[in-house]
Symmetry: C2
Subunit: 441 residues, 2 copies
């Protein structure tokens, strides 16, 4: 790698070479049967060079030295055509990394047959549990990666890791009624996946979903479960933590550092080495050491996230929050492993204490939210009706408003957390909000 | 390949081995600059085997004989766990292929540098045309593939092909106003891409978009341009042509063969070797010879599309409409190159003859349409206001209803067609509809 960096310095003032080796194994389920088993291996190298503050970036699907050299030359020809980025300062310098999480070696060479068995077991369980259930879809597998990031400033870091997952989508069909698809899953850094729990959770919700009622337009209590909550937060408040947005004036948190922006029950941080993380990282996408970054502590906003580029423009330091997009090669600001701090009560007790309210399993339309101001409009589906502390059936409703209002309506947080593998990992509990306006649909 | 098929027959009653070699080169544009240049090569082999009517399917990213043999064994272990598909008949038998389209050899080994130059030229042109324009995004490249499909019934077909594309997304910023992103593109089976036309079309629409007006709720004339039209049709009427849906009872065309379902101005067919096709095919995803299939002729519905599996269940023959999904390995019914027949008038004249109406460039939300009945609800954005035969500004409106009603409201079709590379190719003109109910937003 040293030799390739030296070769690149003939062309560029600064140069970064990042090599990503991936191995994915996966199986798919369709309509109660196994439909596919795949093994995929892939290596890509991303070359980012800067000459006179002009950027060149090349991607090749190889780590062969000759092809990397061609990539360097190609990136150079691009840089010559690009204009100067007057704000460019420099690539990151070396930093000190924490001790990586211990790697579970079995993830490296597990066969898809393992997941074929696991999926088959899940299908069997689901069909035994309720003869009206169809396992409409599902899948399981492992994603394993080794990466090495080097640059001409002296950064050279290697890290490996990966996780396993299994999920099921169940549909109930009874007396001419068809429930919506109900998902549940497990995801871990080991092969010890809880198929029983995933199937049981989904099957229980299918039972609830056979009874469908129209929802009213009202102000009520709503518990949002981990998957739905992380969808909503990923498209509303998480982007608002970005230092790039602070500089561009597109975050409502701009003047809020140190101020209360949420209920004091709420604490959110990025903790790349958290024990539940599905992808623990000691270095970010450009080799900067990661750290725990607290975003909201007991309702108070603590500060922004930075990558190397925007931090240097702002005159601050990177928080190790550069996330590499493997298809474009670009770096953007994000979280490695967002954690929403857990509370003290069980979800069961939270439901048990509600006289009238709703439990939301999924949100549709969260991606159309506006992180510039926090406005959202989503459809809660599937959602379940709570009456006198028990689930009485399923429904669908609209929920719209501003996420910062919602953050102040938190009144309880569950002690159970779940690792959600969606746009990075989110470790999320269920959160109960009060006085939520919902519109029947 | 012969030897591998024989090896597979030790395990399976029937076996299919399909090898796909892909080469993609591409460049990306971000904010007036080139942001990435990539070369990606990839080979995948899909093994589909049937034992006692149980399916096994394995995917590997290699065409190495040893790994294919492992894949065969893996597929076999899966088949043993799956239940019998009592409807399974057999894999396709050999058929007679038409002469393939002549291949443009330059597409096979063009360098990304060619597209770097092309993209740079487009950016320069756009910025010269209007100093308020930003080239927000864009890209260009080539997708090249060679595939070989063989099965134990004697099918053995090789085909190659690929196409080139370039696109630009322009945004205008003037006096505090920001237009929506306006796309235009060119896509062809040669490197002869028309950058000037793409930039000019998009820049003209940006000019129109500086003036924004609220739209009314009214019944009016609406011209839908190719990209928007193909989005709407892909999610409403195209799925209704599927023989699988006929058998499952989820197409509103079930009892309509030979009947009028649209204006007699409308003719739609699948023509895999059409001169404008971006991916001409002599064989479908399971090696069945392709042919021209007429779906709607002068408003009359002519019949359904079939792949091997559903055709044999129905007791008819495959229309060569099996489309392979490379990520799941599965086959579903679809079109290779949908053609909406062109009309006689130029788009310019069509606009010129409208006293009051709209021109729609894009639809949002088309993917939520319901092909079971043809209902849709979309947002037309960007849309342009036509007054006295001229574009007077831009607007946004809602359009909802049933696509089969809309098909009867066609009153003119443009003589220009465009090749749209979206879920297969769609060759589409602009279509003018009358008495369309729209809702101001």
């Amino acid at each position: 790698m040293e030799e390739l960096l030296r070769y690149g310095e003939r062309f560029f003032d600064e140069l970064e070479i990042a090599v990503y080796r991936n191995r994915e194994i996966g199986v798919n389920i369709e309509l109660n049967e196994l439909s596919m088993s795949a093994v995929r291996e892939r290596t890509i190298t991303i070359i980012r060079g800067i000459k006179n503050r002009s950027l060149g970036l090349a991607i090749i699907d190889s780590e062969d030295g000759k092809r990397i050299k061609e990539g360097i030359e190609r990136a150079y020809r691009m840089a010559k055509l690009n204009s100067q980025d007057k704000r460019w300062k420099s690539l990151p310098s070396p930093g000190e990394y924490r001790k990586p999480r211990k790697i579970n070696e079995e993830l490296k060479d597990v066969s898809p047959d393992y997941f074929v068995e696991l999926a088959k077991r899940g299908i069997k369980l689901a069909l035994e549990k309720d003869k009206n259930i169809v396992v409409a879809g599902g899948g399981g597998g492992v994603e394993w990666s080794e990466e090495r990031i080097t640059n001409s400033q002296g950064v050279d870091v290697i890290q490996e890791g990966g996780g396993a997952y299994i999920y099921f989508e169940l549909i109930g069909m009874k007396e001419g009624k068809v429930t919506p698809g109900i998902f549940d899953f497990d995801a871990k850094l080991s092969l010890d996946l809880n198929v029983e729990m995933a199937v049981e959770n989904a099957a229980r919700k299918v039972k609830w979903a056979y009874t469908v009622e129209k929802s009213k337009t009202e102000e009520t209590k709503v518990i949002v479960e981990p998957w739905a909550l992380s969808m909503l937060f990923q498209y509303t408040i998480f982007p608002a933590f970005s230092g790039e947005r602070l500089i561009k004036g597109t975050t409502p948190l701009a003047s809020k550092v140190g101020e209360s922006v949420a209920s004091e029950l709420l604490t959110i941080y990025d903790d790349p080495l958290h024990e539940m993380s599905l992808n623990p990282r000691i270095a970010d996408g450009e080799g900067v050491p990661t750290r725990k970054n607290v975003l909201i502590e007991k309702g108070k906003f603590k500060g922004f996230l930075w990558d190397n580029y925007w931090a240097k423009i702002k005159g601050t330091e990177s928080t190790g929050s550069g996330i590499r997009n493997p298809s474009t090669g670009g770096i953007s600001i994000g979280m490695h492993n967002a954690v929403i701090e857990k509370g003290k009560k069980s979800l069961e007790d939270m439901i048990g204490e509600i006289e009238h309210g709703y439990l939301v399993d999924g949100f549709q339309g969260a991606h159309s939210s506006n992180p510039d101001n926090g406005n959202f409009a989503v459809v809660a589906n599937p959602a379940f009706i709570i009456e006198d502390g028990e689930i009485k059936g399923s429904t669908v409703f609209m929920m719209s408003g501003n996420v910062y209002d919602l953050l102040n309506q938190v009144y309880e947080i569950s002690k159970e957390q779940k690792a959600i593998p969606f746009m990075g990992t989110v470790i999320s509990p269920s959160i109960a909000f009060e006085n939520v306006r919902i519109a029947g649909k």
